[in-house]
Symmetry: C2
Subunit: 691 residues, 2 copies
C-alpha cells in the first residue's frame, strides 16, 4: 500500500510542478512581449514625432522591426519543429482523443512554440499567445510527468510508473488546463476546457488534481506578476492571468436587451462561419503549394504576412483616423498615441493598433468614447482579414485574442448603434463589446461550456453569464449550419481519425460487420519467428489478434487474445524464442515492455539483431497477450461499437462470432470518415477500402 500512496502523492507533486512551470513560461512570455512591444511602439511614436510627421522612415522601420521579430518565430517553426505552427489546440485535442501527432509533446516543440510565440506576437501579427500557452502547458506536463526529456537525452529515473499512454494523457490534460488558467486567469475554465476537448470519462480524482494544477498555475502567475507589476505589492494576488478583461461595471444590462444579444449571436455565427470557410480554402491552398516539406516557402510566407500586417496597421494609423481631444481621465494603464495629431489630441486608430492586444481589448471594453465609428469599422475588418490570413502560417499563433478583438470592435459598434436607436433600453456599449467578442469567438471555435466559463472568469462577473451563454449558444447553432469549428476543420483536413462526441448519423443503419476491416492479420499464439517478422514487415498495424491451434497443429480460427505490435517487437528484441534444442525460457517482465516508451523501435530497427538461425525458432505469445479484451459481434450496432471506443478510449476491437471465431477488426479509422466508405443510405461505395 505504500507504493500505492506514494504513486498517488507523486501525481500531486507532478501537478504542482506542472502548474508552477506553466506559470513561469507564461510569465516569461508576458515579460518579453511587454518589453519588446512596448519598446517598439515607443520607438515608432518617437520617430514620427521627432521627424515632424514624416512617413517613410517610421513606416520602413516599423516593417523592418516586425519582419525581423517574426523571422525568429518563422525560422523556428519552418525549419525546426513544423508541429509548433498554429495554436496547438487541434494537436492537443487529437492527443487527448487518443491520436498522437508526431513530435507534439517534445521538448523542442515547446521551445519553438513558447519561444516563437513571443516573437510572433511582439512582431505585430494578428495572433494571440493563449493557444500556444495551452500547448506549452501540455508539453511541460508530458515532460515533467515522465521525468525525462527523450530528446536531450536526460532521464531523471523518476516517475517510472507514469510512463504509459494512459497516465501521460491524464497529465497532458492537466497541463493544457494549466495553460488556459495562466492565459486567462481562469482556473475553472481550464478544467472545463480539458474536459470539453479531451475527456471521455469523468474521472473525479483527475479532475480535482487538474483543478489543483490550474489553481497553482493561476496563483504562481499572480505571485510573479505581483512582484514585478508597477503599483502592486508583492504577495497581493490580484493579477488575473495574461489576458485581463478589466473590471466590468456589473448589472449594466436588463432583460429586455436579450433579443439584441441573440441578434449579435446570429451575426457572430455567420461571420465566424465565413472566417472558417475562408481559412479552410487558405489551408488547402497552403497544403498544396507551400507544404511543410518546403520550409523556405513557409518561412517566406510568414515574413510576407508580417510585412503585410505592419503595412496595414501603419497605413491605417496614418491615413484613416480621427484626432480626438485627450480625455482628462484615462482608463487605467492605457497609452494614448498622438502620432500626427496636434498636441492635446490623440490618433484613435494608432491608439488601438499601436499597443498590446490586451490593452486594445480593455480599451474596447471600457473606454467609452475613445474611438470613432469609422475607426472601429476599419479596425474590425482589418483585424478579421489579418487574422484569417495568419492562422495556419508557419508561426505559433493563437486564435482567441484576434477573434476577441474583432468581435469586440463589432460589438462596440453594434452597441453604439443600438444605443442610438433605443436610448431608453441600451445603456452600456461595453456589454455589447463583450457579447460581440463572445459571439465571434464562439462562431469561430464553436466551443461551448468552457468558452463561456473562460469569458466569465476573465470578466470576473457571473452576472454576465446568461448573455454570454446565450450568444455563444446562438452563434454555435448558426455557425454549425455552415461548417465545423476551426479546430475541427484543421483536424479533418489532416484526415486524423478523431472520434467525435456522437457517432455519425450514417452509422445508425450499420452493424459491426459493415464497418469492420477484413481480412484480419492473425497470428497463432504459438508461432514461428519467420512468420512474425514477415507479418510485421508487411504492415504497420498496432495490434494483432491471436488465434488458437487445432488438434493438427494448424492455426484455428478461434480467437484467444490480442497482442500489441510493440509488445511483439519487445519480445523479438529480448529474444524470447523457444528453442526446442535448448528449451531456454526467456524472462521478459513488464518493465521491459515500458523501457522504450514512448518511442518504441519498429521492426526495421531490430531486424538486424534477428539472425537467420532464429527465424525457425518459435515464440509463445500467450503469456504476454491480453486474453480477455473487449470484443464485439458482427450483429452489434455500429453506434454501440462507437460508444465503446469513445467511452473506453479503445484503439481496436476484435469482432468475433458466437463461436468466438475471428471475423474482423474495428479500428478508429473504421469509425470516422464513414462518408468515404458508404453512401448516405448506408450502402458501401465501390472504392476498395479494406486493407
Amino acid at each position: 500500500n505504500w507504493a500505492y500512496s506514494r504513486e498517488r502523492g507523486l501525481k500531486w507533486v507532478v501537478a504542482l510542478l506542472v502548474g508552477m512551470a506553466t506559470a513561469l513560461v507564461a510569465y516569461t512570455i508576458d515579460m518579453f512581449i511587454r518589453g519588446v512591444a512596448g519598446a517598439k511602439f515607443t520607438l515608432i511614436s518617437r520617430l514620427i514625432v521627432d521627424c515632424d510627421n514624416c512617413f517613410w522612415s517610421p513606416f520602413l522601420s516599423y516593417i523592418a522591426v516586425n519582419v525581423l521579430l517574426v523571422s525568429v518565430a518563422a525560422f523556428a517553426v519552418a525549419f525546426i519543429e513544423p508541429v509548433a505552427a498554429g495554436s496547438g489546440i487541434p494537436e492537443i485535442k487529437c492527443y487527448l482523443n487518443g491520436y498522437k501527432i508526431p513530435h507534439v509533446v517534445r521538448l523542442s516543440t515547446l521551445l519553438c512554440k513558447a519561444g516563437g510565440v513571443m516573437f510572433s506576437v511582439a512582431g505585430g501579427l494578428a495572433v494571440g499567445r493563449e493557444g500556444p500557452m495551452i500547448h506549452s502547458g501540455a508539453v511541460l506536463a508530458a515532460g515533467i510527468s515522465q521525468g525525462k526529456a527523450t530528446s536531450l537525452p536526460l532521464d531523471s529515473g523518476l516517475f517510472k510508473t507514469f510512463r504509459n499512454d494512459h497516465m501521460k494523457r491524464d497529465f497532458v490534460a492537466s497541463g493544457a488546463a494549466a495553460g488556459v488558467s495562466a492565459a486567462f486567469g481562469s482556473p475553472i475554465g481550464g478544467v472545463l476546457f480539458s474536459l470539453e476537448e479531451g475527456a471521455s470519462h469523468w474521472n473525479q480524482a483527475l479532475t480535482w488534481r487538474t483543478f489543483f494544477c490550474t489553481m497553482i498555475s493561476s496563483f504562481t502567475l499572480n505571485l510573479l506578476l505581483s512582484g514585478t507589476s508597477p503599483g502592486v505589492k508583492w504577495g497581493y494576488l490580484n493579477q488575473p492571468g495574461l489576458v485581463d478583461f478589466g473590471e466590468f461595471v456589473a448589472q449594466s444590462y436588463t432583460v429586455v436587451e436579450i433579443p439584441f444579444f441573440v441578434i449579435i449571436g446570429v451575426v457572430g455565427g455567420l461571420s465566424g462561419a465565413a472566417f472558417n470557410a475562408i481559412n479552410t480554402k487558405l489551408t488547402l491552398f497552403r497544403m498544396r503549394f507551400i507544404p511543410v516539406s518546403k520550409p523556405w516557402a513557409r518561412f517566406a510566407e510568414a515574413l510576407f504576412i508580417a510585412a503585410l500586417s505592419a503595412t496595414v496597421s501603419f497605413l491605417f494609423a496614418f491615413f484613416i483616423f480621427e484626432c480626438r481631444p485627450e480625455p482628462t481621465t484615462v482608463y487605467e494603464g492605457i497609452t494614448l498615441r498622438r502620432f500626427t495629431c496636434p498636441e492635446g489630441e490623440y490618433n484613435d486608430m494608432a491608439t488601438i493598433f499601436f499597443t498590446t492586444q490586451e490593452e486594445a481589448i480593455r480599451q474596447l471594453f471600457h473606454n467609452r468614447d475613445a474611438f470613432s465609428y469609422p475607426t472601429l469599422a476599419f479596425f474590425m475588418f482589418a483585424y478579421f482579414g489579418l487574422a484569417v490570413v495568419t492562422y495556419g502560417a508557419s508561426v505559433p499563433s493563437g486564435l482567441f485574442v484576434p477573434c476577441i478583438l474583432t468581435g469586440c470592435a463589432f460589438g462596440r459598434l453594434a452597441g453604439h448603434a443600438l444605443e442610438h436607436l433605443f436610448p431608453s433600453i441600451v445603456h452600456d456599449p461595453g456589454t455589447y463589446a463583450l457579447v460581440g467578442a463572445a459571439a465571434f469567438l464562439g462562431g469561430v471555435v464553436r466551443m461551448t461550456i468552457s468558452l463561456t466559463v473562460i469569458i466569465l472568469e476573465s470578466t470576473n462577473d457571473i452576472s454576465y453569464g446568461l448573455p454570454v451563454m446565450l450568444t455563444i449558444m446562438v452563434s454555435k447553432i448558426v455557425g454549425d449550419l455552415f461548417n465545423e469549428g476551426l479546430y475541427d476543420i484543421h483536424i479533418d483536413i489532416k484526415h486524423i481519425p478523431f472520434l467525435g462526441w456522437e457517432p455519425e448519423r450514417l452509422m445508425e443503419n450499420l452493424t459491426a460487420a459493415d464497418i469492420m476491416s477484413t481480412p484480419v492479420n492473425v497470428l497463432p499464439y504459438f508461432v514461428r519467428v519467420r512468420d512474425v517478422v514477415v507479418l510485421l514487415e508487411s504492415n504497420t498495424h498496432g495490434a494483432f489478434p491471436l488465434c488458437g491451434i487445432d488438434e493438427n497443429g494448424l492455426p484455428s480460427d478461434q480467437f484467444v487474445g490480442i497482442i500489441l505490435r510493440h509488445e511483439i517487437i519487445t519480445l523479438l528484441k529480448r529474444r524470447a524464442f523457444v528453442d526446442y534444442a535448448n528449451a531456454v525460457r526467456s524472462h521478459v517482465d513488464w518493465l521491459d515492455f515500458v523501457d522504450d516508451y514512448p518511442r518504441y523501435p519498429d521492426i526495421v530497427d531490430i531486424r538486424a539483431d534477428i539472425f537467420d538461425e532464429d527465424m525457425d525458432k518459435f515464440m509463445n505469445l500467450s503469456p504476454y497477450m491480453n486474453p480477455a479484451p473487449i470484443t464485439t459481434q458482427p450483429v452489434a450496432a455500429a453506434t454501440a461499437v462507437f460508444r465503446l471506443f469513445r467511452g473506453l478510449g479503445l484503439r481496436h476491437m476484435v469482432v468475433v462470432d458466437r463461436m468466438r471465431r475471428i471475423m474482423g477488426i474495428v479500428t478508429r479509422h473504421d469509425l470516422v470518415h464513414l462518408e468515404d466508405k458508404f453512401h448516405r443510405d448506408g450502402s458501401p461505395r465501390d472504392v476498395p477500402w479494406h486493407n
Copy 2:
C-alpha cells in the same frame, strides 16, 4: 431527420422548463421563509420588549410557534413520504449512479420536500434549504421530462421518447444542477455538482444543456427576486441565489497566510469527521429504535428536536450574551436584536440566533466587531450540536447552511485569534470566516471541485480560489483518515449497491470468476410459458441470460443473448405465445415495452391473466433479446469489470468462457461491499453469499 431534430429541440425545451420551474419553487420557498420567520422574530422581540423583559411568556410562545411549524414538515415526512426526509442528496446520488430508491422522484415527494422544508427552516431547526432544493429540482426534471405525473394520474402524452431510464437520468442530473444553481446562485457549481455526484461519462451535449438549465434557473430566480425585493428595479439582475454570501473585499489575504488556511483545513477535517461519526451513531440508533415503520415515533422525535432547538437558542439569547452599543452604520439588510439590552445597545447572541440563517452568515462574514468571542464560541458549539442531532430526523433538512454557520463562527474566532497573535500578517477575519466555513463543510460532505466552485460563485470573487481550494483539500484528506463523507455514510448504512469512482483495493487480486454470482438462472430462447412463470416467481432478478437449444431440442449451455425481466413480463402481458395449434404470431413493438415505464408490472400483477391453457404454450424470446451485450470472461480482472460497469453504466454482465458457455453473471451487488464476501487477502469468507 426531422424526428431527430425535434427530439433534440424538445430536450432544450425541457431544460428551459425545468430551470424555470426550479427557480419558481426556490422563490416560493424563499418568500415563505422570509415572511414567516420575519414575522416570528418580530413577534418574539416585541413580546420581550412589551412585557418588560419577562422570560416565560416569550419563551413558551417561541417554543409553541416553532413546534407548530415543524409539525407540518414532520407530518408530511413521517406519514406521507418518508423518502422526503433529510437533504435528498444521498438519494439523488444513488439515482444518478443508477440505483433507484423507491418514490425518490415522485410528485408527492416533491410536495413533502419543498413544502416541508419551508416549515422546517421557518420552524427554527438547524437545517438549510439547499439540499431539498436540489432534490426538488431533480423531481421537477423527472416529472417535466416525462410529460406526466403517474401518481395523479396525469399524462400529457408529450415527450414519449424520453420515457426510459437513460434519458430520465440525464434530465434528473440537469434538474439537480438547477437546484444547486437556484440555491447558491451558482450555475457553474451546479453543473459540476451533477458531474461530480452523478456522471460517469462526460457527455458534452448533456453538460451544455445542463449549463443552460442552471443559467435559466439562476436567471429566473434573479428576475423574480428583482421584482419583489426592496430597492431593486424590476429586470435588474443582481440577486445571486437564495444563499448570498455578500460582497467580499477582494485581495484581503497574502501568501504568508496560506499556512494558517492549512491549519484551519486540518481542524475542519477533524471536526467534520467528528460530526460524521456522531451522526452515524445517531442514524444507527434511529434505524433501530425509531424506524420509518413507526411514523408516530418519528413525528414525536422531530417535535422534540424543534422544542430543543427553540430552547437552546432562546436560553442562549437570554442568558449568554453581551450588550453591545449599536454601530452607526449597519451592514446592509441586517437586523440588530435588542432583547433585554438597554436602549441604543443590542444583544449579540439574539442578533445571530433570531434572524434567518442567510443573514447570520452574512453577519459572520462581514460584520467585523459585531460579536463577542464567547458569543461566537457558544454559538458554534450550539449549532454543531443542533445540526448533528437534526440531520436524519423526519424533516426535510439541508446540511450546507448549518455547516457553513458552524464553520463561519469557528473561522471568525480563529481569524480574530490570529489577528491578535500576528497583527502584521492577518488583517481580515472575514476571510477566515469564509475559509472556516469551507473547511468544516468540506470535512462533513467531502465534496471537492463542485464545493469549491459553489463557494467561489457565492462569494463572486475568484481570488479566494486558492485558499478555499486548499482548505477543502486539506480538510478532505484529514477527514478521510477517519470516515467517509456524510452522504456516502448514509448511502452505505442503507446498504445500497453504489458504485464508487474506483474499484476497492481488494478487487485488484480478483477475477471475474471470483466475484460473479453462480449458478445463473438461464432461460432457453425458445421456452415453455410455464418455465418462464416459475422462474419469474422464484426470484426478483432484473435480467436473464438466454441459452441456445441443442440438436436434441434441449437447452444448451451456449449464451445467445440477454433479456430484461420487464421485457419478459410485457411479452407475457401481451400474450406473445406461440401456439402450435394456431401458429398465431403476436406483434409486440418497442412502444409496448415502454408503455408502463417507469412502473412496470411484476409477475404477480399479471399472473391472473395467464390461463392454465397458456402454460404449455411456448414463447420465442429471440426477437426481443439483446443478442450482443457486453460480456466478459472468467479470467478478466475484476477491476476491469468494475470499470466497464462504471464507464458504461451497466447493471449486469454475463460471464462466458471461450466457447461462449454461460459461466456466471456479475451484478452491481457483486461489485460493492466486497468486504462482506472476502477477507482482506482476497480469499472468500465462509458465509454463503451466492444466491
